[in-house]
Protein backbone atom coordinates (compact mmCIF):
# COMPACT_ATOMS: atom_id res chain seq x y z
CA UNK A 1 0.00 0.00 0.00
CA UNK A 2 1.40 3.46 -1.02
CA UNK A 3 1.45 5.87 1.89
CA UNK A 4 -1.06 8.73 1.68
CA UNK A 5 1.49 11.52 2.05
CA UNK A 6 3.47 10.10 -0.91
CA UNK A 7 0.31 10.07 -3.07
CA UNK A 8 -0.43 13.73 -2.20
CA UNK A 9 3.17 14.80 -2.98
CA UNK A 10 3.14 13.01 -6.35
CA UNK A 11 -0.21 14.57 -7.28
CA UNK A 12 1.05 18.04 -6.34
CA UNK A 13 4.22 17.54 -8.42
CA UNK A 14 2.19 16.42 -11.46
CA UNK A 15 -0.07 19.47 -11.09
CA UNK A 16 3.00 21.74 -10.84
CA UNK A 17 4.44 20.23 -14.04
CA UNK A 18 1.11 20.67 -15.83
CA UNK A 19 0.78 24.34 -14.77
CA UNK A 20 4.41 25.04 -15.68
CA UNK A 21 3.84 23.61 -19.15
CA UNK A 22 0.68 25.65 -19.67
CA UNK A 23 2.46 28.80 -18.47
CA UNK A 24 5.34 28.20 -20.89
CA UNK A 25 2.92 27.81 -23.80
CA UNK A 26 1.25 31.04 -22.76
CA UNK A 27 4.60 32.89 -22.57
CA UNK A 28 5.63 31.62 -26.00
CA UNK A 29 2.35 32.74 -27.59
CA UNK A 30 2.73 36.18 -25.99
CA UNK A 31 6.30 36.47 -27.30
CA UNK A 32 5.22 35.51 -30.83
CA UNK A 33 2.40 38.04 -30.78
CA UNK A 34 4.79 40.76 -29.56
CA UNK A 35 7.38 40.06 -32.27
CA UNK A 36 4.68 40.00 -34.95
CA UNK A 37 3.41 43.34 -33.67
CA UNK A 38 6.92 44.86 -33.75
CA UNK A 39 7.45 43.57 -37.28
CA UNK A 40 4.25 45.21 -38.41
CA UNK A 41 5.24 48.43 -36.69
CA UNK A 42 8.82 48.47 -38.16
CA UNK A 43 9.40 50.96 -40.96
CA UNK A 44 9.37 49.34 -44.36
CA UNK A 45 12.36 49.67 -46.76
CA UNK A 46 11.96 53.06 -48.41
CA UNK A 47 11.12 52.95 -52.08
CA UNK A 48 13.92 54.61 -54.04
CA UNK A 49 12.71 57.84 -55.52
CA UNK A 50 13.74 58.19 -59.14
CA UNK A 51 12.81 57.54 -62.72
CA UNK A 52 13.94 55.80 -65.90
CA UNK A 53 16.51 58.01 -67.62
CA UNK A 54 18.69 57.98 -70.69
CA UNK A 55 22.22 58.42 -69.34
CA UNK A 56 25.67 58.72 -70.94
CA UNK A 57 28.16 55.92 -70.37
CA UNK A 58 31.81 56.03 -71.47
CA UNK A 59 32.59 52.59 -72.87
CA UNK A 60 36.08 51.16 -73.45
CA UNK A 61 36.79 49.32 -76.71
CA UNK A 62 39.99 47.31 -76.31
CA UNK A 63 40.33 46.35 -79.95
CA UNK A 64 40.22 49.97 -81.09
CA UNK A 65 42.10 51.26 -78.03
CA UNK A 66 39.40 53.87 -77.66
CA UNK A 67 36.76 55.19 -75.27
CA UNK A 68 33.36 56.12 -76.73
CA UNK A 69 30.20 57.63 -75.24
CA UNK A 70 27.08 55.50 -75.43
CA UNK A 71 23.50 56.02 -74.22
CA UNK A 72 21.85 53.66 -71.75
CA UNK A 73 18.32 53.49 -70.33
CA UNK A 74 18.67 53.15 -66.58
CA UNK A 75 16.48 53.68 -63.50
CA UNK A 76 18.25 56.59 -61.83
CA UNK A 77 17.51 57.36 -58.17
CA UNK A 78 17.51 60.97 -57.01
CA UNK A 79 19.93 60.51 -54.10
CA UNK A 80 23.48 61.16 -55.37
CA UNK A 81 25.36 58.08 -54.12
CA UNK A 82 22.55 55.76 -55.29
CA UNK A 83 22.57 57.60 -58.59
CA UNK A 84 26.33 57.09 -58.88
CA UNK A 85 25.96 53.38 -58.17
CA UNK A 86 23.28 53.02 -60.85
CA UNK A 87 25.43 54.83 -63.43
CA UNK A 88 28.53 52.76 -62.57
CA UNK A 89 26.55 49.52 -62.79
CA UNK A 90 25.28 50.61 -66.21
CA UNK A 91 28.91 50.99 -67.34
CA UNK A 92 29.90 47.62 -65.90
CA UNK A 93 26.94 45.91 -67.57
CA UNK A 94 28.46 46.89 -70.94
CA UNK A 95 31.53 44.86 -70.07
CA UNK A 96 29.80 41.81 -68.60
CA UNK A 97 27.83 41.01 -71.73
CA UNK A 98 29.10 38.64 -74.40
CA UNK A 99 30.79 39.59 -76.66
CA UNK A 100 32.29 42.34 -74.55
CA UNK A 101 34.22 45.36 -75.83
CA UNK A 102 36.34 45.28 -72.65
CA UNK A 103 35.91 41.94 -70.83
CA UNK A 104 35.80 42.00 -67.04
CA UNK A 105 35.59 39.05 -64.64
CA UNK A 106 32.21 37.52 -63.86
CA UNK A 107 30.89 38.98 -60.63
CA UNK A 108 32.46 42.41 -61.14
CA UNK A 109 30.02 44.80 -59.49
CA UNK A 110 29.64 47.90 -57.35
CA UNK A 111 28.87 47.05 -53.73
CA UNK A 112 28.26 50.59 -52.59
CA UNK A 113 29.11 54.22 -53.21
CA UNK A 114 29.78 56.60 -50.33
CA UNK A 115 29.56 60.36 -50.61
CA UNK A 116 32.02 62.33 -48.45
CA UNK A 117 31.96 66.11 -47.98
CA UNK A 118 29.59 66.49 -50.91
CA UNK A 119 32.40 66.30 -53.50
CA UNK A 120 34.23 63.02 -52.90
CA UNK A 121 32.95 59.57 -53.76
CA UNK A 122 34.35 56.29 -52.51
CA UNK A 123 33.34 53.40 -54.75
CA UNK A 124 33.38 49.99 -53.11
CA UNK A 125 33.68 47.20 -55.67
CA UNK A 126 33.37 43.43 -55.37
CA UNK A 127 36.48 41.25 -55.07
CA UNK A 128 35.88 39.85 -58.54
CA UNK A 129 36.14 43.35 -60.01
CA UNK A 130 39.87 43.44 -59.19
CA UNK A 131 40.77 39.75 -58.80
CA UNK A 132 39.50 38.80 -62.26
CA UNK A 133 40.49 42.02 -64.04
CA UNK A 134 42.79 41.37 -67.04
CA UNK A 135 46.24 42.80 -66.19
CA UNK A 136 47.76 45.54 -68.33
CA UNK A 137 48.43 49.27 -68.04
CA UNK A 138 46.06 50.29 -70.80
CA UNK A 139 43.32 47.81 -69.87
CA UNK A 140 43.29 48.96 -66.26
CA UNK A 141 43.46 52.61 -67.26
CA UNK A 142 40.44 52.11 -69.51
CA UNK A 143 38.40 50.67 -66.65
CA UNK A 144 39.23 53.51 -64.27
CA UNK A 145 38.64 56.23 -66.90
CA UNK A 146 35.38 54.64 -68.06
CA UNK A 147 33.96 54.42 -64.54
CA UNK A 148 35.04 57.86 -63.33
CA UNK A 149 33.90 59.63 -66.50
CA UNK A 150 30.54 57.84 -66.40
CA UNK A 151 30.13 58.80 -62.76
CA UNK A 152 30.93 62.48 -63.26
CA UNK A 153 28.76 62.70 -66.39
CA UNK A 154 25.71 61.61 -64.41
CA UNK A 155 26.34 62.95 -60.91
CA UNK A 156 27.28 66.59 -60.60
CA UNK A 157 29.83 68.13 -58.24
CA UNK A 158 32.14 65.13 -57.78
CA UNK A 159 35.80 66.21 -57.79
CA UNK A 160 37.54 63.19 -56.25
CA UNK A 161 36.97 59.45 -56.53
CA UNK A 162 38.57 56.55 -54.72
CA UNK A 163 38.10 52.82 -55.24
CA UNK A 164 37.91 50.10 -52.61
CA UNK A 165 37.82 46.37 -53.23
CA UNK A 166 35.45 44.48 -50.96
CA UNK A 167 35.63 47.30 -48.42
CA UNK A 168 39.44 47.33 -48.30
CA UNK A 169 42.14 49.50 -49.88
CA UNK A 170 44.19 47.79 -52.60
CA UNK A 171 47.49 48.95 -54.07
CA UNK A 172 46.62 48.40 -57.73
CA UNK A 173 43.67 47.24 -59.82
CA UNK A 174 45.45 44.25 -61.39
CA UNK A 175 49.15 44.95 -60.82
CA UNK A 176 49.49 48.25 -62.67
CA UNK A 177 47.08 51.13 -62.14
CA UNK A 178 46.95 52.88 -58.77
CA UNK A 179 44.00 52.26 -56.45
CA UNK A 180 45.48 53.88 -53.32
CA UNK A 181 45.12 57.51 -54.39
CA UNK A 182 42.07 59.69 -54.73
CA UNK A 183 41.57 60.35 -58.43
CA UNK A 184 40.98 63.99 -59.38
CA UNK A 185 38.05 63.85 -61.80
CA UNK A 186 39.38 66.82 -63.81
CA UNK A 187 42.69 64.98 -64.40
CA UNK A 188 40.84 61.79 -65.41
CA UNK A 189 38.74 63.84 -67.84
CA UNK A 190 41.95 65.03 -69.53
CA UNK A 191 43.30 61.48 -69.57
CA UNK A 192 40.08 60.10 -71.10
CA UNK A 193 40.18 62.70 -73.86
CA UNK A 194 43.41 61.06 -75.10
CA UNK A 195 41.38 57.99 -76.03
CA UNK A 196 38.14 59.55 -77.32
Amino acid sequence: MIPRHFQITTALLLLAILFSGLYMIHLRQREEAASLQSLQAAPSVPVLEGKQERIRVLVAYDEDQALRWRDAEVFMPVERSSRARAALRAALSQYLQSPSPHPLGKGADIRNVYLINNDTMVVDTTSQFADAHPPGILLEEFTIASLIETLTANVSGVTKVKFLVNGQERETLAGHVDLMSFYQTAAVHELAKEFE
Binding site: D62, E63, Q65, P134, P135, G136, I137, L138, L139, E141, I144, E171, T172, G175, H176, V177, D178, M180, S181, Y183, Q184, A187, E190, L191, E194
Partner: protein, 243 residues
Protein backbone atom coordinates in the same frame (compact mmCIF):
# COMPACT_ATOMS: atom_id res chain seq x y z
CA UNK B 1 68.02 76.95 -11.97
CA UNK B 2 69.69 73.85 -10.57
CA UNK B 3 70.89 71.02 -12.77
CA UNK B 4 71.20 67.51 -11.46
CA UNK B 5 74.62 65.95 -11.26
CA UNK B 6 75.83 65.00 -14.78
CA UNK B 7 73.10 66.99 -16.56
CA UNK B 8 74.85 70.22 -17.38
CA UNK B 9 73.50 72.03 -20.49
CA UNK B 10 76.76 71.24 -22.27
CA UNK B 11 76.49 67.49 -21.67
CA UNK B 12 72.81 67.50 -22.67
CA UNK B 13 73.61 69.28 -25.95
CA UNK B 14 76.42 66.78 -26.58
CA UNK B 15 74.09 63.84 -26.03
CA UNK B 16 71.50 65.27 -28.45
CA UNK B 17 74.22 65.86 -31.06
CA UNK B 18 75.44 62.25 -30.78
CA UNK B 19 71.92 60.93 -31.04
CA UNK B 20 71.43 63.02 -34.14
CA UNK B 21 74.59 61.60 -35.71
CA UNK B 22 73.86 58.01 -34.72
CA UNK B 23 70.16 58.08 -35.65
CA UNK B 24 69.61 60.86 -38.18
CA UNK B 25 66.15 59.52 -39.00
CA UNK B 26 65.18 59.89 -35.36
CA UNK B 27 66.40 63.49 -35.31
CA UNK B 28 64.38 64.17 -38.47
CA UNK B 29 61.29 62.58 -37.00
CA UNK B 30 61.19 59.84 -39.64
CA UNK B 31 61.27 56.08 -39.55
CA UNK B 32 64.51 54.33 -40.54
CA UNK B 33 64.71 53.33 -44.19
CA UNK B 34 65.91 49.85 -45.06
CA UNK B 35 69.10 49.12 -46.99
CA UNK B 36 69.18 50.85 -50.36
CA UNK B 37 71.24 48.34 -52.32
CA UNK B 38 68.98 46.87 -54.95
CA UNK B 39 69.06 43.09 -55.16
CA UNK B 40 71.26 41.96 -58.01
CA UNK B 41 72.22 45.51 -58.88
CA UNK B 42 75.60 47.06 -58.49
CA UNK B 43 74.23 50.55 -57.84
CA UNK B 44 75.84 52.42 -54.98
CA UNK B 45 73.78 54.57 -52.63
CA UNK B 46 75.89 57.60 -53.50
CA UNK B 47 76.11 57.21 -57.28
CA UNK B 48 77.72 60.44 -58.46
CA UNK B 49 77.07 59.90 -62.17
CA UNK B 50 73.94 59.78 -64.26
CA UNK B 51 72.56 56.28 -64.67
CA UNK B 52 69.33 54.68 -65.80
CA UNK B 53 67.49 52.44 -63.35
CA UNK B 54 65.74 49.74 -65.39
CA UNK B 55 62.85 48.08 -63.60
CA UNK B 56 61.66 44.78 -65.09
CA UNK B 57 58.07 44.91 -63.80
CA UNK B 58 56.60 42.13 -61.63
CA UNK B 59 58.73 39.16 -60.44
CA UNK B 60 58.52 36.35 -57.92
CA UNK B 61 54.92 35.70 -56.87
CA UNK B 62 53.73 38.57 -59.01
CA UNK B 63 53.64 36.99 -62.46
CA UNK B 64 52.02 39.89 -64.30
CA UNK B 65 50.06 39.13 -67.46
CA UNK B 66 50.17 35.83 -69.31
CA UNK B 67 51.54 36.73 -72.72
CA UNK B 68 51.43 33.37 -74.44
CA UNK B 69 51.20 29.66 -73.77
CA UNK B 70 54.41 29.58 -71.75
CA UNK B 71 55.44 33.20 -71.37
CA UNK B 72 54.80 35.32 -68.31
CA UNK B 73 55.12 39.08 -68.26
CA UNK B 74 57.69 38.93 -65.41
CA UNK B 75 60.05 36.76 -67.53
CA UNK B 76 59.63 38.82 -70.67
CA UNK B 77 60.31 42.10 -68.87
CA UNK B 78 63.45 40.68 -67.25
CA UNK B 79 64.84 39.46 -70.59
CA UNK B 80 64.01 42.80 -72.21
CA UNK B 81 65.58 44.70 -69.29
CA UNK B 82 68.86 42.79 -69.68
CA UNK B 83 68.91 43.63 -73.38
CA UNK B 84 68.14 47.27 -72.67
CA UNK B 85 70.96 47.50 -70.14
CA UNK B 86 73.42 46.16 -72.75
CA UNK B 87 72.12 48.55 -75.39
CA UNK B 88 72.36 51.57 -73.10
CA UNK B 89 75.88 50.67 -72.00
CA UNK B 90 76.88 50.26 -75.65
CA UNK B 91 75.80 53.90 -76.07
CA UNK B 92 77.87 55.01 -73.08
CA UNK B 93 74.91 55.36 -70.72
CA UNK B 94 75.38 53.56 -67.38
CA UNK B 95 72.41 51.40 -66.42
CA UNK B 96 71.44 49.16 -63.53
CA UNK B 97 68.70 46.58 -63.15
CA UNK B 98 66.33 46.89 -60.23
CA UNK B 99 66.02 43.11 -60.21
CA UNK B 100 68.20 40.65 -62.10
CA UNK B 101 66.52 37.50 -60.78
CA UNK B 102 62.98 36.23 -60.30
CA UNK B 103 62.37 38.00 -56.97
CA UNK B 104 59.33 39.73 -55.49
CA UNK B 105 59.78 43.45 -54.92
CA UNK B 106 56.96 45.66 -53.74
CA UNK B 107 56.11 48.70 -55.83
CA UNK B 108 56.99 50.99 -52.93
CA UNK B 109 60.40 49.33 -52.54
CA UNK B 110 61.11 49.82 -56.24
CA UNK B 111 60.48 53.55 -55.88
CA UNK B 112 62.48 53.71 -52.64
CA UNK B 113 65.55 52.09 -54.25
CA UNK B 114 65.32 54.41 -57.26
CA UNK B 115 65.07 57.50 -55.06
CA UNK B 116 67.74 56.43 -52.59
CA UNK B 117 70.28 55.64 -55.34
CA UNK B 118 69.53 58.99 -57.07
CA UNK B 119 68.88 57.40 -60.46
CA UNK B 120 68.95 59.92 -63.31
CA UNK B 121 66.08 58.13 -65.04
CA UNK B 122 63.68 55.37 -64.00
CA UNK B 123 62.37 53.11 -66.77
CA UNK B 124 59.83 50.42 -65.91
CA UNK B 125 59.17 47.78 -68.54
CA UNK B 126 55.78 46.09 -69.00
CA UNK B 127 54.08 43.97 -71.66
CA UNK B 128 50.39 43.39 -72.23
CA UNK B 129 47.27 43.56 -74.37
CA UNK B 130 45.77 45.12 -76.43
CA UNK B 131 47.15 46.35 -79.76
CA UNK B 132 50.59 46.43 -81.31
CA UNK B 133 53.77 48.45 -80.91
CA UNK B 134 54.99 50.26 -77.82
CA UNK B 135 53.05 52.47 -75.44
CA UNK B 136 55.11 55.00 -73.51
CA UNK B 137 53.74 56.42 -70.30
CA UNK B 138 54.56 59.23 -67.91
CA UNK B 139 52.71 60.00 -64.70
CA UNK B 140 49.25 61.60 -65.02
CA UNK B 141 50.01 63.93 -62.07
CA UNK B 142 49.52 67.65 -62.46
CA UNK B 143 52.99 69.26 -62.64
CA UNK B 144 54.08 71.10 -59.50
CA UNK B 145 53.82 74.83 -60.11
CA UNK B 146 55.55 76.17 -57.01
CA UNK B 147 59.16 75.27 -56.30
CA UNK B 148 59.28 72.18 -54.16
CA UNK B 149 61.37 71.83 -51.04
CA UNK B 150 63.67 69.01 -50.03
CA UNK B 151 60.87 66.81 -48.76
CA UNK B 152 58.24 65.64 -51.26
CA UNK B 153 54.88 64.00 -50.53
CA UNK B 154 55.19 60.29 -51.32
CA UNK B 155 51.99 60.09 -53.37
CA UNK B 156 52.96 63.02 -55.63
CA UNK B 157 56.78 62.90 -55.53
CA UNK B 158 56.83 62.79 -59.35
CA UNK B 159 54.97 66.11 -59.70
CA UNK B 160 58.25 68.05 -59.63
CA UNK B 161 59.74 65.97 -62.47
CA UNK B 162 56.69 65.06 -64.54
CA UNK B 163 57.32 67.76 -67.15
CA UNK B 164 60.84 66.39 -67.73
CA UNK B 165 59.43 62.86 -67.93
CA UNK B 166 56.90 63.96 -70.58
CA UNK B 167 59.54 65.88 -72.53
CA UNK B 168 61.68 62.76 -72.54
CA UNK B 169 58.81 60.71 -74.00
CA UNK B 170 58.18 63.31 -76.69
CA UNK B 171 61.86 63.09 -77.65
CA UNK B 172 61.94 59.29 -77.52
CA UNK B 173 58.86 58.62 -79.67
CA UNK B 174 60.35 59.66 -83.05
CA UNK B 175 63.44 57.50 -82.47
CA UNK B 176 61.21 54.46 -81.81
CA UNK B 177 59.05 55.19 -84.89
CA UNK B 178 62.20 55.46 -86.97
CA UNK B 179 62.98 51.87 -85.96
CA UNK B 180 59.59 50.77 -87.31
CA UNK B 181 57.50 50.54 -84.14
CA UNK B 182 54.11 52.17 -83.74
CA UNK B 183 54.28 54.37 -80.64
CA UNK B 184 51.62 55.91 -78.41
CA UNK B 185 52.60 58.46 -75.74
CA UNK B 186 50.11 58.53 -72.87
CA UNK B 187 49.65 59.70 -69.29
CA UNK B 188 48.99 56.97 -66.74
CA UNK B 189 48.23 56.49 -63.04
CA UNK B 190 50.66 53.54 -63.11
CA UNK B 191 52.36 52.66 -59.83
CA UNK B 192 55.06 53.47 -58.79
CA UNK B 193 55.67 56.33 -61.26
CA UNK B 194 54.06 58.87 -58.90
CA UNK B 195 56.48 57.94 -56.10
CA UNK B 196 59.71 58.47 -58.04
CA UNK B 197 61.36 61.85 -57.50
CA UNK B 198 63.37 62.06 -60.75
CA UNK B 199 62.28 61.57 -64.36
CA UNK B 200 60.30 58.34 -64.61
CA UNK B 201 58.73 56.60 -67.58
CA UNK B 202 57.10 53.28 -68.43
CA UNK B 203 57.23 51.31 -71.66
CA UNK B 204 54.55 48.70 -72.36
CA UNK B 205 55.17 46.32 -75.25
CA UNK B 206 51.85 45.34 -76.81
CA UNK B 207 51.51 41.56 -76.99
CA UNK B 208 50.39 41.53 -80.62
CA UNK B 209 53.58 43.23 -81.83
CA UNK B 210 55.01 41.24 -84.73
CA UNK B 211 53.74 38.01 -86.24
CA UNK B 212 55.06 35.37 -83.81
CA UNK B 213 54.42 34.82 -80.09
CA UNK B 214 56.72 36.99 -77.95
CA UNK B 215 58.75 34.06 -76.57
CA UNK B 216 59.98 33.14 -80.04
CA UNK B 217 61.17 36.59 -80.84
CA UNK B 218 64.63 37.17 -79.47
CA UNK B 219 65.33 39.39 -82.44
CA UNK B 220 62.23 41.47 -81.78
CA UNK B 221 63.28 41.83 -78.15
CA UNK B 222 66.71 43.00 -79.25
CA UNK B 223 65.12 45.45 -81.67
CA UNK B 224 62.80 46.77 -78.93
CA UNK B 225 65.69 47.20 -76.49
CA UNK B 226 67.79 48.88 -79.15
CA UNK B 227 64.95 51.24 -80.08
CA UNK B 228 64.23 52.21 -76.45
CA UNK B 229 67.97 52.73 -75.77
CA UNK B 230 68.31 54.83 -78.91
CA UNK B 231 65.27 56.87 -77.87
CA UNK B 232 66.77 57.52 -74.42
CA UNK B 233 70.17 58.40 -75.90
CA UNK B 234 68.64 60.83 -78.40
CA UNK B 235 66.37 62.42 -75.81
CA UNK B 236 69.33 62.87 -73.47
CA UNK B 237 71.33 64.41 -76.30
CA UNK B 238 68.50 66.81 -77.14
CA UNK B 239 68.25 67.92 -73.53
CA UNK B 240 71.93 68.67 -73.25
CA UNK B 241 72.76 65.57 -71.21
CA UNK B 242 70.33 66.35 -68.41
CA UNK B 243 67.07 64.56 -67.90
Amino acid sequence: MHWNKGRSPLRLAGAILCLGIAFPWAAAGQSPTPSVTPPGAEASSHAPEFFVMIDPAHGGDDKGATLGAKLLEKDFTLALARELKKELQARGIPAHLLRDTDVSLSLERRAEITNETHAGLYVVLHAGAPGTGIRLYASALTPATASVGRFLPWESAQAASVERSRALLRSMAPALRKKGFSVAVLPSPLRPLNNVTGPAIAAEVATATGAQPLQHRAKLREALASAIAEGIAQARGQQGGRL
